[in-house]
Symmetry: C2
Subunit: 282 residues, 2 copies
């Protein structure tokens, strides 16, 4: 399986596929691949004639005090894992080619879906995510692009961009993959030691309890959020960025559950920022 | 020649062309077609297998106090003129479909090329221009898109977007078409009466005198700008938005002509805002 390093080579790879009438699936990643990414690649493999996985740690989506420099990078390992799922090519461009001197064009989104939660905690984050996704879409020209629901808001924001800008592709959102004990897979789990990893289980446990409470009739969003918050705080010292109950499509805040809602959490445990979410169905 | 009113119909029109291996040329316009637009369509006709001209008065590129409401609209006449150049289809979408409720995604550009001159005089203008052009590119999927040099900065900003966002198309910039007496063709010339039209000739006259002075050895940008400014003011009451001598690629201000530069003018004459430009070659 080839590792493609330049935009020109990627364009000729996909041009060949297009010329043969093949559909193309794209799985954009920042590398440090785990079973979550691989499940996206397997789904793309099943649904598309050709599959490209991109591996690019995108500098424009990290804030100045975030973990861009120490974000885990191991292209050889990533390429092996991707090849194991049947991906046809890994596209791993350089930052210098993706953002040449004088780069000045960005995609911005102003809706609550982009401005709340991650948008508020990480200014400029979605601007970077949307811009790099648009660039990858333009380079690869996929019929479908695959994103995980673990980054729930990211998948919504990208879906909204595709609709607003009339991009000729479909965004496929796939379920979060979890460890057997409930921890949502994340490349940032590598930062956790034994104690903070145990503490991080409070996230999925809290979400699960809120889900149970909603199913059992609790309609008050504040009460559901409090269940999650209490679980996080009981597990040890942490810094909660948000615990939010929101509309699953617009991410507008919800006060009373009249239908499905999504519970979203961002919390720092031992210096590692983790996010997770789950659907609440009354 | 069909007039296509919906995005879905436009997509199927161009899908047929793509399936037959045809190259597609796009000429984006706001209608009120004149010989300038028609020259772009003829060039596209000569260079592409299929040509789509879009006619869409784009609300997002007008400021609140600008002429969106009174901008001239006559789709039947525009379609006849376009058909006369051999265009294969006119795409005239509705604002409701281009900007549905909840539309929230825009392209922003931060370089001097977008922030100076029109960017400064018309805040949000290029945001609207870039966003609608990106949407049209995504709907039509052209191999080439044609823009006139009369809107010099607009063509540069769009070229920059295409490069930064890796759009798979080429921007073709075409020379300004002028009346025999020098007035640059513009849909807004319709707003001029006999007296203001005569006064507006000071723009091309001033640009021509600056061009002559540069060719004759004048290297000081301030002196060249003053030649244009004096010509505008001598012709009657007007309000000058800018007279600028700039780098032809970056639009950074130039003090001394070491190579080609562009002279750009925006001036209000009798309530009508007109722009024009010319290359200065020392």
């Amino acid at each position: 399986m080839p590792i493609i390093h330049t935009i020109a080579d990627c364009r000729s790879f996909v041009a060949n596929e297009h010329n043969e009438g093949h559909t193309i699936g794209l799985v954009p990643t920042m590398g440090a691949l785990h079973e979550g990414h691989l499940s996206l690649m397997r789904r793309a493999r099943a649904e598309c004639d050709a599959v490209v996985a991109s591996v690019f740690v995108n500098p424009t989506q990290f804030g100045p005090s975030e973990d861009f420099a120490r974000y885990p990078r191991d292209l050889e390992r990533d390429a092996q894992l991707a090849a194991g799922t049947g991906v046809d090519a890994v596209f791993a461009p350089s930052a210098a080619e993706m953002y040449p001197a004088g780069f000045a064009t960005f995609v911005e989104q102003s809706a609550p879906v982009a401005e709340r939660l991650e948008g508020q905690c990480r200014p400029g984050h979605f601007r970077g995510v949307l811009t790099v996704c648009l660039k990858l879409f333009n380079i690869v020209g996929p019929d479908r692009a695959y994103f995980g629901r673990k980054d729930y808001q990211q998948a919504l924001v990208i879906t909204r961009m595709v609709r607003d800008l009339d991009l000729p592709l479909e965004i496929i959102r796939c379920d979060t993959v979890r460890e057997p004990d409930g921890l949502a897979l994340s490349s940032r789990n590598q930062y956790l030691d034994e104690a903070t990893r145990r503490q991080a289980l409070s996230i999925s446990r809290g979400l699960g309890r809120a889900r149970g409470a909603a199913a059992a009739g609790e309609r008050r969003a504040a009460a559901l959020a409090e269940i999650i918050r209490a679980e996080l705080l009981a597990a040890g010292p942490c810094s909660i960025d948000y615990v939010d109950i929101a509309d699953p499509d617009t991410l507008a805040p919800v006060e009373t559950l009249d239908g499905p809602a999504v519970a979203l959490v961002a919390v720092r445990i031992g210096g590692t920022r983790l996010i997770d979410n789950c659907l609440l169905e009354p």
